[in-house]
């Protein structure tokens, strides 16, 4: 609507030129496709503000007569291309070549945004969350929103730290691309949430598997692409402000954005959000010290033209997360007491304060991108990005150390990447590129606590090529190949006793560079060569039904935590031990998806099988004793794993207003070497919803959703530990999952048009409507407390 208004203004502004003298000139021209230089037949050419319309012939030629000398505005359109307005100077008879293109990525049309989201791969299952869904999670996190997609779960540490899990795999096995930049935010830690602000993104695509090789070869779990909205190439200024308030946690979020665009492709945008919560509440008690304070700011400028363009983006993310007070425990007896006890050991009155234990993380991200299209060939991209991630973790400490963090890590990453996409041919596309990365981690010794992760330098280089080939109008083949070289060069102190206990003194004696008595300074250097490959087919059975099949082999080098972890996590009262012997893991995943997307009804059936050699797993393995008591030990080891699963969706549009949706997902994870189930595999879950919507009633929508999460019945055996307090060996119930649970949620919204350009949207969500008491297997705080109780959230959004 805005576009047509704009067109009108433009036409009026240019019309004076149309009435000059000497009006016998003829304008002839040829219209060709930008990509492959083929002539375009049937394109309409119209002088703006005039009824004179001509069509191009089979050679792409057209002719307009009775033109005066002067500047004309032509509107050139073609059914498969986006409409183009061009100014042409007519002086006598004139000839002009006009190119049109049918790619909408960098283009200007607001109305096509919803459909302009193109798949990153053809043969793998890919699901997209659009802005309407993301806005409902404006006051939550990316991980919460992604759980709308079947087959996506999360590993939580409380309600604020939410790590996405795709088809059973998370952490370093899931890549997050934030506006084209692969996040380097210490994703190796279970309690490290992605440092992204959900409010910066317009849509999020989840690729369930490793096939999107352009982003990395190690996405054994999958890829999450967070993409900003396209900016129209026209003179405009627009934005939105979204305010969310929630009863549980007694806080909320405000986010605002403003975009200025110009018709020549220049744009500038700014966005900021602030989130603040106090203590959350379970149905029966306050979850003491669970508040959060989060600030996100992003700015960007650039010029996006069809032929070439560049943009510069900077974003800042700062989060301050309180961790449940009762989860800061002393030793194994405290853990046994917590697991056996019903309520958290510490419950205070509601408070906004963010006390220890807590995390303070800041993330800076700067990106510079340039692209250039070549007529009849394709598009070249060049990108540099820099990330700076500072993490402080504060435990409850006493005396002089009480204000010192226990963990103080600074991770800096530079990366440079370039790729070329050949997309001018109708029957094939080819993309190839190279990417390099340098990373430095600095662990500050001022903490007074031995480093859990050492200082290191990391160097990566990857080259890839991907292609797709149209076999017939209904069958498409895609394939890709990627090679990655990783080198990690660390400087790490080991206790002599640990060095010897692990047997490193025999295997890695040459790493030792200094002997400090009780400690050794070592310099482990490792190289990894990884090869990833994918091949798949996409077959269109009918216009609304398709089958996708994909095979992906992917390899992932161990992360610093898996290699070097060594020490006591004070707040979690656990000792985590990495292993220098760990090598790359190799996944071979077969996935199939049968999908129908009809007007009346549709479904997706997507089974998968993932076979992983040398799968790296972290499990509780025993206890170690020191003078402060006994501590559970979690050890990394490698095994052969097999994950089998199914994601299924069904929707049915009963009438114009009534829709029901149903989703089920299940994963079974097995340790094939030990013949036991894998740890932390999401339980099966079943979601059903019924919604009513009526566009005549101010876009009114209401939906009721039921989510049933089964009990995870497959889990590794518990361990026996010696309890000093009880003076005997006892079972540590550390792996036993909690019971199944059922949650009901209600969501309703409507829109009030205020002026022609301004709309106010109002929404209300009630989560856990029945105030169900439950614990979730994939919440690391499940030993200590129940999950959140009922929560009313109200949203107000103003578009302008």
């Amino acid at each position: 609507m805005r576009l047509s208004f704009f067109t009108l203004v433009f036409v009026l502004a240019t019309s004076p030129y149309l009435f000059a003298q000497n009006c016998t000139n003829v304008l002839t021209g040829t219209i060709i496709d930008f990509h492959d230089s083929t002539p375009l037949v049937g394109a309409t050419v119209q002088v703006a503000g005039n009824d004179n319309v001509v069509l191009s012939d089979i050679y792409g030629n057209f002719s307009l007569d009775s033109l005066c000398d002067g500047i004309y505005e032509l509107e050139v359109s073609h059914p498969e291309c986006s409409t183009k307005f061009i100014k042409i100077k007519v002086l006598g008879d004139t000839t002009e070549k006009i190119t049109l293109e049918h790619h909408l990525e960098e283009l200007d049309e607001v109305k096509v945004i919803g459909n302009a989201i193109t798949d990153a791969t053809n043969s793998t299952q890919e699901k997209i969350l659009k802005i309407e869904t993301l806005e409902r999670y404006s006051a939550g996190s990316l991980g919460d929103a992604l759980k709308e997609i079947s087959g996506v779960n999360s590993l939580n540490t409380g309600a604020n730290i939410v790590k996405p899990i795709i088809q059973g795999l998370g952490g370093s096995r899931v890549l997050i691309l934030n506006n084209g930049v692969r996040m380097q935010d210490m994703e190796w830690g279970d309690e490290h949430a992605p440092n992204v602000d959900i409010n910066t993104t317009d849509h999020v695509a989840v690729i369930k598997g490793a096939a999107a090789l352009q982003y990395g070869g190690d996405a054994i779990g999958g890829v999450i692409l967070m993409e900003p909205a396209l900016i129209p190439a026209k003179d405009t200024l627009y934005g939105k402000t979204l305010l969310t308030g929630a009863t549980n946690g007694r806080g909320g979020n405000i986010t605002t954005e403003l975009i200025k665009a110009h018709k020549n492709g220049w744009f500038a945008k700014g966005q900021a959000s602030f989130k603040r919560y106090g203590d959350y509440e379970a149905p029966d008690y306050v979850l003491t010290n669970t508040g959060v304070s989060e600030l996100g700011v992003s700015i960007g400028i650039g010029k996006h033209d069809f032929i070439w363009g560049w943009d510069a983006n900077y974003s800042y993310f700062d989060t301050n997360i309180a961790i449940l007070r009762a989860s800061d425990i002393g030793n194994v007896d405290d853990l046994i007491r917590a697991i056996n006890g019903g309520e958290p050991l510490i419950i205070d009155d509601f408070d906004y304060a963010i006390n220890k234990p807590k995390q303070e993380v800041t993330h800076h991200l700067a990106k510079l991108k340039f692209y250039r299209r070549f007529e009849g060939l394709g598009k070249w991209n060049l990108q540099y990005d820099f990330q700076h991630n500072q993490r402080f973790e504060f435990d409850i400490r006493v005396g002089d150390d009480s204000e010192k963090p226990s963990i103080d890590l600074l991770l800096s990453t530079h990366s440079l990447s370039t790729d070329f996409k050949i997309d001018s041919k109708t029957n094939y596309k080819l993309n190839f590129g190279v990417a390099g990365l340098y990373q430095n981690n600095f662990a500050n010794p001022d903490t007074g606590v031995r480093r859990l992760i050492p200082d290191y330098d990391r160097y990566d280089i990857g080259i890839f090529t991907m292609g797709e080939y149209v076999i017939s109008s209904t069958l498409l083949l895609d394939a890709g190949l990627r090679y990655d070289y990783n080198k990690i060069d660390a400087k790490k102190f080991y206790r002599k006793s640990r060095w010897e206990e692990r047997g490193y003194d025999v295997e890695f004696a040459d790493f030792v560079i200094d002997d400090l008595g009780t400690q050794l300074l070592t310099n482990p250097v490792f190289d990894y060569n990884n090869l990833s490959a994918t091949v798949g087919l996409q077959y269109e059975v009918t216009t609304d039904t398709e089958i996708r099949f994909n095979y992906a082999r992917s390899q992932r080098a161990p992360n610093p935590s898996e290699l070097f972890s060594d020490g006591l996590h004070h707040s979690a009262a656990r000792i985590e031990l990495g292993d220098l012997r760990i090598k790359s893991e190799t996944s071979r995943k077969l996935s199939l998806s049968l999908q129908k997307e009809g007007v009346k009804w549709g479904y997706t059936l997507a089974p998968f099988a993932n076979f992983i050699a040398d799968f790296i797993v972290l499990e509780p393995t025993g206890v170690e004793f020191n003078i402060r008591g006994a501590f559970p030990v979690w050890t990394y080891r490698q095994t052969t794993a097999r994950l089998l699963g199914l994601d299924a969706n069904l929707y049915y549009q009963w009438t114009n207003n009534w829709l029901t949706e149903h989703a089920f997902s299940i994963v079974k994870g097995s340790d094939m070497d030990l013949e036991i189930p894998l740890i932390n595999i999401p339980a099966a879950n079943f979601r059903n919803s019924v919604s009513y919507s009526n566009s005549d009633w101010k876009d009114f929508k209401i939906s009721l959703e039921s989510q049933y999460v089964f009990r995870q019945n497959e889990f590794p055996p518990n361990i026996m530990v010696f309890s000093p307090e009880q003076g005997q060996e006892v079972i540590l119930d550390i792996n036993t999952p909690p019971e199944a649970y059922h949650l009901i949620a209600l969501d309703t919204s409507f829109k009030i048009p205020l002026t022609e350009r301004n709309t106010l949207s109002v929404g209300l969500t009630i989560n856990n409507l029945l105030n169900e008491t439950y614990r979730d297997y994939l919440n690391r705080l499940r030993y200590y407390s129940d999950n959140l109780g009922r929560n009313f959230m109200i949203r107000l959004k103003l578009n302008y």
């Binding site: 032929i307 070439w308 560049w310 002393g330 030793n331 007896d333 050991l345 510079l368 340039f370 250039r372 060049l382 540099y384 820099f386 409850i396 400490r397 006493v398 005396g399 002089d400 150390d401 530079h414 440079l416 340098y438 430095n440 662990a443 010794p445 903490t447 007074g448 606590v449 031995r450 480093r451 050492p454 200082d455 330098d457 400087k491 102190f493 206790r495 002599k496 006793s497 640990r498 206990e501 560079i513 200094d514 400090l516 009780t518 400690q519 300074l521 020490g567 006591l568 000792i575 170690e624 004793f625 020191n626 003078i627 402060r628 008591g629 501590f631 000093p724 307090e725 003076g727």
Partner: protein
């Protein structure tokens, strides 16, 4: 004309990009020049050794309970030694000495606990043939510390004595660890025999 400006701007953008990247890489390689080794972290306020001396009034030879853990949260468990059995139905005067033996000569941490006695407290849990303990010292506020205590034994049999040192507990407290809070500096259990 138009194409020339276009080409010019592309070239200038390209030139700027390359310049930017080169300078960043240069900066990077410079800042990365120092190959200095990281500084080791010596964990502060480490206690490696707790020695409990139990003296029965009028009896010459004391009983010594000791736990020594030289590698902190390394893999080696503390070495626990108990010099002998305790007598039945007796009263022992207990004293505690704490050492940091990672330093040479060993540092006596007992002194620090004494200096900050209002920020420390020992808790004793006696089971089996031990009847119980009572505090024999107080801090500047009149609250118990536990560097000196009295242990009473009962009839013959096996027994355990668990000693916990809390740093910055709530003081005064009701005598339980749950009420006291604070940070655990020591939690050791000694299996003793009363005969």
């Amino acid at each position: 004309m138009k194409t020339i400006t276009f080409k010019n701007s592309v070239t200038s953008i390209l030139r700027q990009t390359i310049l930017f990247i080169t300078s960043t890489l240069l900066l990077l390689s410079c800042s990365n020049d120092d190959n200095a080794n990281p500084i080791p972290v010596e964990e502060e306020e480490t206690i490696t050794t707790i020695t409990i001396t139990l003296v029965q009034e009028g009896v010459g030879e004391p009983t010594i309970l000791q736990s020594k853990d030289l590698d902190g949260d390394g893999p080696n468990a503390p070495e626990i030694s108990i010099s002998g059995n305790l007598a039945t139905n007796a009263s022992y005067n207990g004293t505690i000495v704490l050492l940091n033996e990672t330093e040479s000569p060993a540092k006596n941490v007992t002194e620090e606990v004494k200096e900050e006695d209002d920020e420390h407290q020992f808790f004793f849990n006696a089971t089996g043939s031990l009847i119980g303990t009572s505090y024999a010292d107080t801090d500047e506020n009149g609250n118990p510390i536990g560097l000196a205590f009295i242990l009473n034994t009962g009839d013959a049999g096996n027994a355990t004595l668990t000693v916990t040192l809390r740093h910055q507990p709530k003081k005064p407290n009701d005598g339980t660890l749950a009420d006291a809070g604070g940070e655990t500096d020591i939690a050791q259990t000694f299996n003793v025999k009363v005969e």
